[in-house]
């Protein structure tokens, strides 16, 4: 009975985090983006500096009509947002926040493997959406998404593999236990590759060519309305949280901080994640959207060679140490 309660509580907490933190990131994006562009951003909803803007947006989305195109593949069309969103919830279960057993939803021995495999499922949501909409633009967007995610999955995996090699384990808490401060400069290239590839996986600007709302009218999500559309948006923000959390855990030393207070490890994790989320927003505001060919070129000619070089470096250092 106690076990059931424990599991239920953990799942509940993870779910609460999953519902809350992406909203915080979204609101931060509203404000940071606005100020970076010399304007104010939402100011009215909720009173103080529009803190309730996203909640109000949610209410707005719920009120809207839920439309499924007549020619669409109904069931696939309706399932797609859930398929896009759920993987991030599952990944969140496995991300360790602090050093103790209680600071992680579930310790998975093959952590990296689980996390990257499950994150890959999110792609399926976009593909399903693009195909089931029975619409040329959506299909085009869906196929572009597929091409982009194929291209960027590889450098992401290679970069993660480098860390796993360095730690000698694929368990996320295991990697953090093995972490030393000099891993930061050692794995910096891998970290950059992982982060950039992750951005592209999330289809965040400047890698949002498949959704390019001003050119191909939101790509695979063209036909979506109301709550289903909101779920796709939520998936994007949940994705940011997951990506930043993962980068923190894999490359930035998670709960290890310059001040060795073990009890406050989770603060370091959250802080690093928040800083990375800010960087995600920052990059979005700063850079223009990449063209399709530039996007592919970046993945195949830059990121993958860099990731391979990182693996080679990791291997050499590892052998030298031993």
């Amino acid at each position: 009975m106690n076990d059931v309660l424990d599991v239920a509580l953990r799942l509940l907490i993870v779910f609460a985090v999953f519902m809350l933190v992406p909203l915080i990131v979204g609101q931060t994006e509203h404000k940071v983006m606005a100020h970076m562009q010399g304007r104010l951003g939402p100011m009215y909803a909720g009173g103080f500096h529009g803190w309730a803007q996203l909640a109000a947006d949610g209410v707005k989305f719920v009120q809207k009509e839920d439309i499924v195109p007549a020619e669409a593949d109904r069931r696939v069309f309706q399932l797609a947002p859930a398929v896009a969103l759920l993987p991030y919830l599952l990944v969140l279960v496995a991300i360790p926040i602090g050093p103790s057993e209680g600071a992680v939803g579930q310790v998975v021995d093959a952590g990296i493997f689980f996390v990257l495999a499950v994150m890959g499922i999110g792609v399926l949501g976009s593909l399903m959406a693009g195909w089931a909409s029975a619409n040329k633009f959506s299909l085009l967007g869906g196929l572009r998404t597929a091409a982009q995610l194929l291209a960027y999955e590889l450098p992401m995996l290679l970069a993660a593999a480098s860390v796993a090699m360095a730690a000698g384990t694929v368990s996320l808490p295991g990697i953090l236990n093995a972490f030393e401060w000099w891993w930061l400069p050692w794995q910096i290239v891998g970290a950059l590759v992982f982060f950039v590839a992750g951005l592209a996986e999330l289809q965040r600007p400047p890698f949002d060519m498949p959704v390019a709302d001003s050119e191909i009218i939101f790509g695979a999500y063209t036909e979506y309305t109301g709550l289903r559309f909101a779920l796709f948006l939520l998936a994007e923000y949940a994705g940011i949280v997951v990506l930043c959390g993962l980068t923190t855990v894999l490359f930035l030393g998670g709960w290890h901080g310059p001040l060795g207070a073990d009890g406050l490890g989770w603060v370091w994790t959250l802080l690093k994640t928040a800083v990375l989320a800010f960087v995600v927003i920052w990059l979005r505001v700063t850079y223009p959207r990449l063209r399709e060919d530039q996007l592919q070129k970046l993945a195949w000619t830059t990121l993958i060679p860099l990731a391979l070089a990182q693996i080679a470096l990791t291997g050499i250092v590892k052998v030298a140490i031993n």
Binding site: M36, G38, R39, T286
Partner: protein, 209 residues
């Protein structure tokens, strides 16, 4: 020296970060009223006491958006045995702001200073027909017309002021002449000196204003 590869990317990041730390330029309009320049073209105000129904504004209006109705009244003779005179009385003065293109020609052309620009701009309506505003509304807007800007220092005196000043001076000179005459007749020249010292100052002050 060739730029370091990627320095452009870093420069871009620096620009956005710097902008974030600066004050935003957003005008919070409904909460904070904008500071409008004195020549703002918001709406047209009517100073109907000055209007003589000469119809110049309505005729010059490129959009034909000014509606004027009037009738003639006869004014009884001022002096017994004189002629009765007729006078135009304004019945209706309306501007259709749905048509108005704010060219300001009516204001420019009005010979009697009956039309003015008011900076008032919040008069949106839900029905386009309600944008035809009648004389009472236009009269209300007249109160919002700002004072005309002051003349440049050293500018030529406006001719209205110059004319008024000249008449005043003439009148004064005449009075003084009369007073001097009276004083001479009474044989006491004391009051004369005071007024003579005051006299040259006053026109100078008026000219500066």
């Amino acid at each position: 020296m060739a730029p370091i590869p990627g320095s452009g990317l870093a420069k871009g990041l620096a620009v956005t970060l710097r902008t974030m730390t600066k004050r935003t330029v957003t005008a919070q309009y409904p909460d904070v009223q904008p500071e409008l320049p004195p020549r703002s073209r918001g709406v047209i105000g009517l100073f109907e006491e000055n209007c003589t129904v000469c119809m110049l504004c309505a005729r010059e209006c490129p959009d034909w958006c000014i509606y004027i109705d009037s009738h003639k009244e006869t004014v009884p003779a001022a002096a017994p045995g004189g002629r009765e005179r007729s006078r135009n009385v304004l019945d209706r003065f309306a501007i259709d702001f749905a048509l108005c293109m704010y060219c300001g020609i009516c204001i420019e052309v009005c010979p009697f200073d009956a039309l003015f620009w008011s900076p008032e701009f919040e008069y949106a309506e839900t029905d386009i027909l309600e944008l035809t505003h009648e004389r009472d509304k236009l009269r209300d807007w007249m109160w919002t017309v700002p004072e005309p800007p002051a003349l440049d220092p050293g500018a030529e005196e406006p001719k209205e002021l110059a004319a008024a000043r000249k008449t005043a001076e003439k009148l004064k000179a005449q009075q003084q002449a009369e007073e001097a005459e009276q004083a001479e007749q009474a044989g006491t020249p004391q009051g004369q000196t005071d007024q003579q010292t005051q006299q040259p100052e006053e026109p100078g002050q008026e000219g500066q204003e």
